[in-house]
Amino acid sequence: MIAGIIRRIIAGIITVACVYTLTFVMVVSIPGNPFQSGTRNMPPEAEQALRARYNMDNNWVYFGEFLAGAARLDFGPTFTYSEWTCNQIIASALPVSVLIGFLAILVALMIGVPLGVFGAVRRGGWLDAASLALVLLGISLPTFVTGTALLTIFAVFLRILPVGGWGTLAHLPLPVLTLSLPFVAYIARLTRVGMLDVLGSDFIRTALAKGLSPRTVVWKHALKPALLPVLSYLGPAMAQAMTGSFVVEKVFGVPGIGQHFVNAALNRDPGLILSTVLVFAAMLVAFNLLIDLVYAWVDPRISGAV
């Protein structure tokens, strides 16, 4: 098992390295000057001086320098925000996104799991149809629509929550709720399918035959195996929720990391692009490994997979 984990970690590092290389190639091949800002053209001498200073006159030197820095967890400077290093930006933005993403996944679990269970137990009934409708609505509504709707209702009309920003507890509910909706949909769907699968199996029949009440069977015996597909989905979902909330961040003005994925690319800021990509890839790999470990712990049958 330990050997398996080590193998997985090495494979993960290789994946992250490939992601880095690929991104790097894209970054150096796209047009646009990372140093220019505003409408004024930068004097060529100034640009040359900056390129020399940041090792950018030779792409491969920059490639190596950045990687060496990243190995020491030092992602170097940004060009868009000259006073802030990539480390400072990530340290300021990542916790925000992690908090919102984490809460959104928890909320999604709390809503999605019962929804999926009811759907499976009452398969074909109105509850199933309603939960399916809710689920499909969840993946069909763009988050900027739901977010703006919530914002208008709670912040503009009812005035019980602030319009946007970050810093107090009142800033949390709207972004978390908005972000959780698509995840609610997926989790409910996975729970339903998993539950249907389990309810058809022999040990449930046996339990029912023994005379246990259906409620006990569903919530006590069937739920744990039925949640396994949800568990394996949580890995990518966590990484996605914690880094991919750019639309929600924009709607609510949350200073998270999602906006940097967009802005770094638009500003052609190589340091920031590479560091955000590395953070994303590392989180994805880490969460997948973590989920697999939990999986093996919950369901010892498949421990060989790790």
Binding site: T39, R40, N41, S82, L99
Partner: protein, 601 residues
């Protein structure tokens, strides 16, 4: 099982929320405003955005500063007016005796020289070096010498370390001696003498500009050194970019020190900057707003909602898809807290005057008559009144009329479709025949103007116009490399003189994207730069501009931007002006209730 899951989720939520709630919250500042696009940099030598200028000029103070109503230079850190020699070439500034940095240190002439020198150094990478090289004696030579050596050092192969090292050492040794030849001298601790290349009637305007701000000597603690030399291996003078942070203490650096009415108390990335009154500022006790918060809202619409909800006292930027409604509310008087003003800025189109071919197609705009025809075919009133409806001013000249005292720009070309068709026919493209599709390059936010323009040209001249919108970085690169036929452009005045506009179409200017070159135009500008009589000077500039907008037409001025700002009625002491310069030291804020409604003080 489910209960357990629920319990785990709930406790995790509670735990993370309470952890978040534990972080201390500061009370609301006396005055709060929103800067939607955030601070790009607080390094005065490097900044080029209005919103950065606004913060910098509130926390630093130049030798002069601008009057918030008229934008003319007024007293700053030095006695006003300074001594000016009779040939208008030597300015002697005396710094106020009680001018102080935010730690109590006196402001010295050397602090100004240090700040200005950073603006000339290639390692600072400023957009505004030309403000020094164009005006101050010896600055151009110094910058040229620096650039040359840096180019040699960066080009030196790594396998010749001894050569590299010897160039570096001798260069580092010469550095201060060579800078002594630049015309800025500290005659004593408080007296600064500036020698100009040629008379500059707007020099006191320039000394209020952020590039001319002083710099406290503590920055030297953060200088990057290469083997004990004051320069880096590339020969650059570079400081740790984090010197503008109030809480940065590497090498015993005291944190950012400023000499203006306010000091930077706290700056969190993408969230907030808090300003506090500089207790050592000479008029500190007259400042009513003791704390100011600058908030960053990525989403302008949300910042307007926050203003309406009373969370914010002042909005400087309300460019939203419904901005014409805001302008209407402001101009009709329905919302007396909305103030519209026309900026000293011009939105124009650049014609590509140099490339015979663009993207494999014939570029007809190397012919002056075609440029003129396209100019004559445009109905600017319709764009301003029917398309944008923001109350922008129609532009017939590059320099906004009325923006610069003593200068009346030429009348420009009015719409004349028949003359346009005649000129086009004269150029050999009667009814647009022989013209391929004309390409109009712009950024997505210009969609409305550019569609209207395309339709005007199609209707008036019978040409086919192809719209090409590019996101801003790609746009900038395409434009700078002349890969366009017609491209949008805009220009904001940096100082109160026509040359802030006119210079950028001179031959070889880095911002001359049209590639326009007319020696006659440059001669007129050169003659104006040595003219001492103001009326002769402005007549020469006017002649130059009339070549620009009436004869050669390398650019097509369309409008002078109007903008709407929102100031809560209980905020007094803010005045709109053409450069959106807001000194916060004169602001008073009446009492407000929780929702921001007015309660008199």
């Amino acid at each position: 099982m489910f209960r357990r899951l629920l319990l785990v989720c709930t406790s995790l939520i509670l735990a993370s929320v309470s952890l978040f709630a534990l972080t201390a919250k500061e009370p609301r500042a006396d005055f709060t405003y929103v800067n939607p696009s955030g601070i790009h940099t607080l390094d005065p030598a490097r900044m080029s955005w209005t919103q950065d200028f606004r913060v910098a000029l509130n926390i630093w103070e130049g030798l002069t500063t601008w009057d918030p109503k008229t934008l003319s230079p007024i007293v700053g850190a030095a006695v006003f007016p300074p001594d000016i020699s009779s040939d208008q070439l030597v300015y002697t500034f005396t710094i106020h005796e009680n001018a102080r940095w935010s730690n109590g240190d006196p402001v010295t002439a050397r602090d100004f020289i240090r700040g200005w020198r950073r603006g000339m150094e290639p390692g600072t990478a400023t957009d505004y070096t030309f403000l020094f090289t164009d005006h101050i004696a010896g600055a151009a030579e110094y910058v040229h010498w620096r650039n040359e050596t840096v180019a040699i050092l960066t080009a030196t192969p790594v396998d010749r370390p001894t050569f590299h090292e010897s160039v570096l050492t001798s260069h580092g040794g010469d550095l201060d001696d060579r800078f002594d030849e630049v015309g800025v001298k500290a005659l004593d601790v408080r007296t600064l003498e500036v020698r100009l290349k040629r008379p500059c009637p707007y020099f006191l305007d320039l000394t209020a500009f952020p590039t001319f701000l002083p710099c406290h000597e503590s920055i030297e603690l953060l200088r990057e050194r290469h083997h004990g030399l004051p320069i880096t291996a590339q020969g650059l003078v570079v400081y740790d970019p984090q010197w503008t942070k109030p809480d940065y203490h590497r090498n015993d650096y005291p944190g950012l020190l400023t000499n203006g009415p306010f000091m930077l108390a706290d700056w969190t990335f993408k969230r907030r900057a808090r300003l506090r009154v500089n207790p050592y500022f000479r008029a500190a006790d007259q400042i009513m707003c003791r704390t100011i918060d600058m908030l960053e809202y990525d989403n302008i619409s949300a910042s307007i909602m926050a203003y309406e909800a009373g969370d914010v006292d002042f909005l400087t930027d309300m460019s939203v898809p419904y901005d014409h409604e805001l302008a209407r509310l402001s101009l009709s008087g329905e919302r007396p807290d909305f103030h519209s003003c026309v900026l000293s800025a011009t939105y124009f189109l650049s014609f590509n005057c140099v490339s015979p071919e663009v993207g494999g197609r014939l570029n007809p705009f190397i012919d002056r008559r075609v440029r003129k025809a396209f100019t004559l075919a445009v109905d600017r009133e319709r764009i301003v009144e029917n398309v944008l409806k923001r109350g922008d001013a129609v532009a017939h000249s590059f320099v906004p009329p009325g923006a610069i005292p003593g200068y009346v720009p030429p009348g420009g070309l009015r719409r004349d479709v028949n003359e346009a068709r005649r000129l086009l026919a004269e150029a050999g493209y009667a009814q647009g025949a022989g013209l391929g599709p004309i390409e109009l390059l712009y950024v997505p936010s210009d969609e409305r103007i550019c569609q209207a323009l395309a339709r005007m040209w199609e209707e008036a001249l019978g040409v086919r116009v192809e719209l090409r919108s590019q996101e801003s970085k790609t746009f900038a690169e395409e434009k700078a490399h002349q890969r366009f036929m017609i491209a949008r452009g805009n220009w904001y005045a940096d100082y109160n003189d026509p040359t802030t506009f006119l210079d950028c179409l001179g031959i070889g200017n880095g911002n001359n994207d049209s590639g326009y070159s007319n020696p006659k135009y440059d001669e007129l500008l050169a003659a104006a730069s040595v003219a001492t009589d103001p009326s002769i000077r402005s007549e020469l500039l006017r002649k130059a501009e009339s070549i620009l907008v009436e004869e050669d037409c390398p650019i097509l001025p369309i409008l002078h931007y109007s903008t709407t700002v929102a100031i809560k009625p209980y905020v007094k002491g803010l005045h709109t002006n053409a450069r959106l310069w807001f000194p916060f030291r004169y602001v008073t804020v009446g009492r407000r209730d929780q929702r921001g409604s007015v309660l008199e003080r």
